[in-house]
C-alpha cells in the first residue's frame, strides 16, 4: 500500500531527506513509476549541484595517496597485478569493514534506481548484513583472491565470507560452487550465481592452511569439483 502523494517524495529522496522506512517505501514505488524515475534523474542533478556550492576547503594532501593505497590493497586480480603478492595473508584495517558495509548501502541506492531490482536487493542486504558483521570481528583475516577481484574474510572461528567485486553471472544452467580444499580433499562450501559485489557466506569453516576455490558446475552443484578452481585464496599455516 502506498501513501498518497508519494511522487512528491522525489525531491526529498534526491536530497537524502527520507528516513529509512520512507526510503524503502519510495524505492519500492520507483520500481514501477517511470515518471518518478525520470524526475529523479533531474532532481538528483539539481540536488548534487549543492555539493559545488559548499565552501572550498582543501583536503589534506595525504588523502589521495591513502585512497589509492587502499584501492590497491582491495584489488588483487592477478591479471592486473603481475607482481607476486608478498604476503597472501594480509590484515586490512578495520576501515575495510566500514567500506564493505557502506558499499552495500551505495549499491542499494543504485541497484534500486538503475536496475529496478528492489526486492532482491533488500533481501540480499539482510543476508549481507550478517556476512558483513563477520568482517567486523577482531582477528578476522582478509586474504586476496587469485583469479578475480575481491577477498576472502576468515574469522578466527573459521567462519568465512567470500567478497567478489565483480564476477560474470553464471549461465542459467550452471552455478558457481565454492570449495574448502585441504590437502587432496575438497568439500562443498556453497553455491552462487555471480554478478557485481557478491557477498557469499561459506557454508563450512575454513581451517588454517586450507584453500578456498571456486569452480563452475552444473546447476544444483556437484559433490566434487569437476575442474581446477577459477578463483582461489589460500590461507597460510599459522
Amino acid at each position: 500500500m502506498e501513501p498518497e502523494g508519494i511522487h512528491e517524495l522525489t525531491a526529498a529522496y534526491a536530497l537524502a531527506a527520507l528516513d529509512e522506512r520512507e526510503t524503502q517505501a519510495y524505492e519500492a514505488h520507483l520500481r514501477h513509476c517511470s515518471r518518478c524515475r525520470d524526475d529523479l534523474v533531474a532532481l538528483r542533478e539539481a540536488a548534487t549541484s549543492l555539493a559545488y556550492a559548499a565552501p572550498a576547503t582543501s583536503p589534506p594532501a595525504a588523502l589521495r595517496g591513502r585512497i589509492l593505497e587502499q584501492a590497491r590493497a582491495e584489488r588483487s586480480n592477478v591479471v592486473s597485478l603481475p607482481r607476486r603478492l608478498r604476503d597472501r595473508r594480509t590484515r586490512i584495517l578495520a576501515a575495510a569493514t566500514a567500506v564493505a558495509a557502506a558499499a552495500a548501502v551505495a549499491l542499494g541506492i543504485w541497484a534500486a534506481v538503475l536496475h529496478s531490482d528492489l526486492d532482491s536487493t533488500r533481501s540480499a542486504h539482510a543476508r549481507d548484513a550478517q556476512a558483513l558483521a563477520l568482517l567486523a570481528e577482531p582477528g578476522t583475516d582478509h586474504v586476496p583472491l587469485t583469479g578475480a577481484s575481491g577477498m576472502l574474510a576468515v574469522a578466527s572461528s573459521g567462519k568465512a565470507v567470500l567478497l567478489l567485486s565483480a564476477i560474470a553471472m553464471a549461465p542459467s544452467d550452471r552455478t558457481y560452487e565454492a570449495w574448502v580444499i585441504k590437502g587432496k580433499q575438497a568439500q562443498p562450501a556453497g553455491l552462487f550465481q555471480g554478478g557485481a559485489n557478491r557477498v557469499v557466506p561459506l557454508t563450512r569453516p575454513v581451517p588454517d592452511g586450507a584453500t578456498v576455490g571456486v569452480t563452475i558446475e552444473r546447476k544444483g552443484g556437484a559433490p566434487q569439483p569437476t575442474s581446477a578452481p577459477i578463483v582461489s585464496a589460500k590461507l597460510s599455516n599459522l
Binding site: 512528491e8 525531491a11 542533478e45 549541484s49 589534506p60 585512497i67 584501492a71 576501515a95 567500506v99 565483480a166
Partner: protein, 199 residues
C-alpha cells in the same frame, strides 16, 4: 605507466575504474576530491570525519563502478551522490553535530590547487549560490537543512514548526526551481560521448 587521462570524459574514467585502473581513480579524485571534501567538511565540520567520508566514498566508487549506468546519471552526479549519502550517514550517526548551526557558506582561505581548477570551481560555486539566493527563503532553508544538515523531512517539520506537507512542498518546489535556474545559467554542458574503446 603514467597515462595522461585529462582528455577522457568522467564517464570514460568510471569505465576504466570498473576495469581496475588505479590511475583512473586518481584522476577522478583530482577532478572531484576537492568538491567531495568541501561538501563533507561543510556537513561534518570535522576534518577526520570528512576525510573518512571522502575516502570511503571513493572506495565505494572503486568497488561499485560496474553499477554506474551512464544513461541514468552523469558520472559526476553519481560520484557526488555517493559522497553525499556517505556524509549523511555519518552526520546522522554523529547526532551532536546536527544541533550546531550550519554557518555561512564562506570560502576558507586555505583553498589550494591549480589556479585554473580553483577559478573553475569558484565560478561553479558562485553560479549555484546565486541560484540558491533566488529561491524564496523558506524553500532555500528547507533544501539547505536537508542537504547539508542531514535532517530528514520529519525532523525538519519539527525543527521549523511546520506541517510535514509544507516541508515536502518546499523541497519539491525549491529543488525544481533550482534546477530551472541552473539549466538557464548552464546552457550546454559537454555532451556525453560514447565510451572510448581503450585497448
Amino acid at each position: 605507466m603514467r597515462a595522461n587521462l585529462a582528455h577522457l570524459s568522467d564517464e570514460a574514467l568510471v569505465a576504466l575504474v570498473e576495469r581496475g585502473e588505479e590511475v583512473a581513480l586518481g584522476e577522478l579524485y583530482d577532478r572531484f576530491g576537492r568538491t567531495a571534501y568541501g561538501l563533507s567538511f561543510r556537513m561534518l565540520r570535522n576534518e577526520s570525519l570528512a576525510e573518512d567520508a571522502v575516502q570511503e566514498a571513493f572506495l565505494m566508487v572503486w568497488r561499485s563502478a560496474a553499477r554506474f549506468v551512464p544513461e541514468r546519471a552523469k558520472a559526476s552526479t553519481w560520484l557526488l551522490t555517493i559522497v553525499h549519502r556517505r556524509a549523511v550517514d555519518v552526520v546522522r550517526r554523529e547526532e551532536r553535530r546536527r544541533t550546531e548551526p550550519l554557518g555561512p557558506a564562506t570560502d576558507a582561505a586555505s583553498a589550494e590547487g591549480s589556479a585554473e581548477d580553483v577559478a573553475w570551481l569558484r565560478l561553479r560555486r558562485e553560479r549555484v549560490q546565486d541560484a540558491l539566493r533566488q529561491l524564496p527563503d523558506e524553500q532555500r532553508e528547507a533544501i539547505e537543512l536537508a542537504y547539508y544538515g542531514g535532517f530528514t523531512q520529519s525532523e525538519l517539520a519539527d525543527r521549523l514548526g511546520q506541517p510535514l506537507g509544507t516541508i515536502k512542498s518546499r523541497m519539491f518546489a525549491g529543488l525544481g526551481r533550482l534546477r530551472e535556474l541552473l539549466v538557464d545559467v548552464q546552457p550546454e554542458e559537454q555532451p556525453w560521448s560514447p565510451r572510448e574503446s581503450t585497448s
